[in-house]
Structures are given as C-alpha cells and as structure tokens.
C-alpha cells in the first residue's frame, strides 16, 4: 500500500463523513427534503470500492453520496441536488436518491432496492459488445440479495459472461429488519458462489476492501466474467433520516462504532507511516471548508424555473418523422 492511496482514502472518507453530517444539519433546518439516507460508518466500502475499481461504470443504491464523491462529482453539485436546486447534478429533479453523471460514469442513485442490478449487467454487455473490456461495478445492500433482481442478475451475468463486480454491503439491516430474520443464512457471498468467485471481506477496513476490489477488477476484466464481494459493514445512522433506528440496541451500536472505518484507517496508516498528523489536520480543515462552500453554493443557487417541469420527460430534439 502506498502513501498516495492512504491519503486519498483519508481525504474521501473524511469528505464523505463531513459532507453527510452537514447534510443532516441542513435537513434538520428544512433545507433538504424527502428522504436522506446517510452512509456514515460505511465509508470504507464506498471509497475503497470506487478507488479499488478505478475506471468503469458504477451503479448504486440510494445511499450514494459518498460513492458519488469518490467517483469525482464535485461536492457542491451534490449538495445543490440535495437542496433541489437547478445547479444540482440532476437539475434538482432527482434529489438525494438520484445522483447521475455519465461524465463520471456514475449511473445513480436508484430508489428501488435491487432494481438497477440488471442495468449493470446490460451496460457491461454493451461495453463488451462495443469492444471495451472495462468492468462495471454494482453495489447493493444485504436486503437486495433476497430479491429476484439479484438472483436473475447473477444468473444472467454469469451466463452472458460479462465483467460485473457485484458488491454487497452487508450492514445487517434491510431498513429495520435484521438479515437473519429474512434470509436463511447470513454469509451472503454464499448466494453467489455457485455462479462466480465470491468472497467476504471486512468492510470496516478500507485496505481490505480496496485490495479485494482491485483483485476482483483484474479478474473480471481479464476473464470477462463476473465476481462477487460481500463487505461486512455497519451504518451508524438509521435507514433514513425519518426512521427512529430503535431496532438496534445502544450496545450493538457502540460495538460497531469501535470499529469505525476512519479511525481504523488513521490507526493503521499512522502506524505504518502512510499518513502524518499534519496531513490529517490539513485534510480535516480542507474538507470542512469544501463542505461549507458546497452549502453556500447550494443556498445561493436558484430554484429550477417552472418550465423545467416539462423538460427531460422526452427527447426534445428528436424528429417525429421517419423516412
């Protein structure tokens, strides 16, 4: 592991956490509406997988702010989207759950559990068809592995031999229902192991996530076949900001927080000489400023004009004649 990666890990994880804590504050003030799903506690999976994967399309769920940041979308455009402003990454029409930017190979942000897994399979097919061997990353939670979309997709991706990395973030809870109440077994990689190589990693350790994803990426691109990783993780916040989260005991939460992925990274990186206290302080100050600037940008951005209501439903430049 080199120093440059450790610095990127720390920067993006810290940016993600500060961004989300600030988004929570703005939600409480009424500046952000609807649902707000925070990934606090899961940053090692989100940042580690995006950096380990490198180049390639990413499809994710509705808890996707940190993925979007790690893919390179500027914080201010994400914050503006949360505020519903025209300057937002989806022009204020998608909100927190629907961040899209093809420039960064980022395809959502999808609010239907598991429904975008087949999209990743189709896009991988398209890339391969056009002679591009780059893999596609699709991330979903433990809850999605009980859905038809998941099982249909591992079957199809395996048969079609397309380079998809299926990344399951097992945070043990599908909203408020613990995984062992709805799945016959809780080692979820076993659901995929007859279709493709499948392994389980510690999702609170970014080095482990990064390494596993990097190796998986090499596999899917050299073999042209799918791969499955289950990352064991934990979300500190409730499912959504409107959920009380009282289905988990304070003791369980405390134990999880003791494995905090950012503290974990700091401890390992300082011990190994990959990060310095000075760098950590520098990043802490920097991300605070970036997030303040993003909030300022969102506040000062205009509302979408009313005519936006009718735009982007259909193609506006298409000619309605065929000859």
């Amino acid at each position: 592991m080199n120093k440059s990666y450790a610095e990127q890990f720390y920067y993006l994880m810290k940016l993600g956490r500060v961004f989300e804590l600030r988004a929570k504050e703005e939600y409480m003030k009424g500046n952000i509406g609807g649902f707000l799903h925070l990934a606090i506690g899961e940053e090692a999976v989100h940042v580690g997988s995006v950096l380990g994967f490198g180049k390639g399309d990413v499809f994710v769920h509705y808890r996707e702010h940190v993925y979007a940041l790690a893919k390179g979308i500027e914080p201010k455009y994400i914050m503006a989207e949360l505020f519903g402003k025209i300057t937002g990454v989806s022009k204020g029409k998608g909100g927190s759950m629907h961040l899209y930017d093809p420039k960064f190979n980022f395809y959502g942000g999808n609010a239907i559990v598991g429904a975008y897994i087949p999209h990743a399979v189709g896009t991988a097919f398209a890339r391969k068809y056009m002679g591009d061997t780059t893999g596609v990353l699709v991330a979903f939670g433990d809850g999605a592995t009980n859905s038809g979309n998941f099982f249909e997709s591992i079957n199809t991706a395996s048969k079609w031999e397309v380079p998809v990395l299926f990344l399951c973030e097992n945070n043990y809870y599908a909203i408020g229902t613990r995984i062992d109440r709805v799945s016959p077994f809780v080692d979820l990689y076993k659901k995929a192991k007859d279709y493709m190589p499948a392994k389980q990693v510690d999702g609170m350790n970014i080095f482990e996530v990064f390494d596993a994803v990097k190796k998986a990426k090499e596999y899917i691109e050299s073999e042209g076949k799918p791969y499955f990783i289950e990352a064991l993780t934990y979300r500190y916040e409730p499912h959504s900001i409107t959920d009380t989260g009282d289905y988990r005991s304070p003791r369980e939460l405390k134990i999880a927080k003791e494995k905090d992925p950012i503290e974990n990274l700091k401890a390992i990186a300082l011990r190994e000489g990959l990060l310095t206290e000075d760098y950590i302080k520098f990043v802490d100050d920097k991300v605070k400023q970036i997030v303040e600037d993003a909030v300022e940008f969102a506040i000062s951005s205009p509302e979408p004009p009313l005519e936006e209501l009718y735009k982007d439903v259909f193609c506006e430049v298409c000619i309605d004649v065929v000859s």
Binding site: N110, Y129, C315, S323
Partner: protein, 325 residues
C-alpha cells in the same frame, strides 16, 4: 407479405444499418421467435445481436435499460403483453423515469415490442390488452401497429428515436396478409384516416380497426350515412387534432377498443377529444369495448366478451337510430 414480415423487415433494415441495434427476448434467437417476428435474424446477425434471454421479463427490460445506458439501441421482445406485468417495475419506475430524474443526462433509446389482445382460446392470462397502463405513465411513448405500413415504419421510427417506446402489436394480425404502402415521410404520432366519410367518426386500432372496417358497409347501409374510420397509431401522444377535425365534420364519435370498458383507454380519448368538440356533437359519443370480465377460455364465451364486426355494427346501428341518424 404478412404483418409479421413487415415487422421483421423493419428489424432487419435497422440492424443492417446500425450495429448498435440488438434484439433480446425469450426464444427470439435460435428458436426463431414464438410468433416468428425475428425469423432469420439469428442466422443473419448471430447470437451477440439476437440474444436469447431466460424467461425473466424483469431481466429482459432491466438489462435492455443497461444496454441503452451503455450506448446500444436494444429492442426487447416480451412474448405477450401479459408478461410485461412481471417487468412493470423496470418499465414504470426505471425506463419511464431515468431521463427525468437525471435531469436529461441519461437517455434510453430502446423499444419494448409485444403483442396483445384476445387471440383464440388462450384464456384470461394470455388475452389482455393493456394500453391504458402504458398510456398513463409519463415518460413512455406508446405506439400501436394496426397494419403492415404502421408496423414497418412505426417500428423503424421506434428504434431510431431516443425516447423509450412501448410498441404494441396484435397476436391475430401476425399471419395476416397485407402490404406496406410506400410513404416518403411517415409521422408516427399522427392518427391515419383509413376511410373517409361524412356521418360518423370511428376511432380504433390494432385488431379492432380491422373488425370496424368489416362492420362499416352494414352500418353505412342501415343508417344511410358514411363512416370516417381513423387508425389511432399513437396512444401517447394522442393526436387530438386529427380526431377533432374529423368529429367537427361528422358531428358524431365512436371509440372502439379491445380493453374492458371500465377504465379503458377509450375514456382518455373521449375526455381529450370532448374538451375540444363537445358543442359540435349531434349525439352523445359511443364507447365500444370488451366486457368487464377476465377473458374466458370457451370460444362462445370468449367471443361474447369482445367486440366483433357483427356486434360493432349492431351497437352502432342501435345508437345511430336512437340519436336520429
């Protein structure tokens, strides 16, 4: 030429013109298609472009969406419209919404082709018409191919436009002999006047259009008038202008669909057209549709459940006499 061959010709031409056009669906490749629409294309274009999928409609539409995101122009075949219900999350929550939710950053140039309607004794789960469901979802274009001309040009348009298109065919039309009329500029969203007339405007499409045309000579003879028969061609958008213009001339309107009458797409046609022509009418409009029952297996009951040329003629004649034609 057969109706299904017109569809095949459209697919073939678009595939030979553009390598980003791919087909996917159940049995469409090696087997040749359950209704033979894709016959010969597997041999011509190979398994990478004519893709056999599992019997998993959700996956057919879901992977097609992904292919469209990845730069292809997929044409998904759902074996019949009845099975599209399995893919409804993909169609309604994904296909119809992603362009809008992404602020226009993602376009999904794809087609879902599927036959619908009552065929012959296929029973309730294989006999539905569902255009009302697709029509009511913002973000979907919905076309209906009633003859070889609209099948051929309509499908070519559906493949070439950047909007997602639901392309509805009819099971009983596949083996029908008909010819493609040459058109220099085909407007897919325009209704087409199949027969001009002065006394009654009749709106229809798919198989009901053919049944209507069969009923017309009797209606004209009995009521001593002439009928203007319009093929709707496009469900969404609805060509209110062409219909309104006709009704302003004839002063009378009949809408015929194969959907059960309650909540059918005929209601939407009537609503939009009446807003334009209400005071022009000389009679209340007539809606003809299927009975509000699941389609029965028994042939006598099945025929009793849907409009037929004889029933269309009878209902219009009774309605016409009652309202002074």
């Amino acid at each position: 030429m057969l109706y299904r061959e017109a569809l095949n010709k459209a697919l073939d031409e678009m595939m030979s013109r553009d390598s980003s056009v791919v087909l996917l669906g159940e049995d469409i490749g090696f087997y040749g298609g359950n209704y033979k629409v894709t016959e010969g294309l597997y041999a011509r274009y190979g398994e990478k472009r004519v893709i056999d999928t599992p019997i998993a409609e959700n996956t057919i539409v879901g992977t097609a969406i992904g292919m469209a995101i990845g730069g292809l122009r997929p044409v998904a075949e759902i074996m019949t419209v009845n099975f599209s219900l399995i893919a409804f999350d993909q169609i309604v929550n994904q296909l119809a919404k992603i362009r809008y939710m992404s602020g226009g950053k993602i376009t999904l140039p794809m087609v879902i082709r599927m036959p619908q309607g009552v065929a012959k004794q296929l029973a309730a789960q294989h006999s539905q018409s569902l255009e009302r469901l697709f029509a009511s979802i913002p973000g979907l274009r919905v076309l209906v191919a009633s003859d070889a001309t609209t099948a051929y040009y309509g499908l070519k348009f559906a493949i070439s436009t950047d909007d997602p298109v639901i392309f509805l065919e009819h099971l009983l039309l596949y083996p029908e002999k008909m010819e493609i009329e040459e058109e220099k500029h085909f407007s897919p969203y325009r209704a087409r006047i199949k027969k001009e007339g002065e006394g009654i405007t009749i709106i229809s499409y798919l198989k009901m259009l053919h049944d209507t045309l069969k009923a017309v000579p009797t209606i004209e003879k009995e009521l001593d008038t002439t009928c203007e028969v319009i093929d709707l061609c496009s469900i969404n958008p609805l060509d209110v202008e062409t219909i309104s213009k006709s009704v302003k001339k004839t002063k009378r309107l009949v809408v015929i669909t194969e959907e059960p009458k309650t909540g059918s797409y005929a209601n939407e046609i009537l609503n939009k057209v009446l807003e334009e022509v209400f005071y022009e009418l000389d009679a209340p409009p007539l809606k003809i549709g299927a009975e509000d029952v699941p389609t029965p297996y028994n042939r006598t009951l099945e025929l009793a459940s849907i409009p037929t040329p004889e029933k269309i003629a009878k209902q219009i004649i009774i309605w016409g006499r009652k309202h002074g034609i």
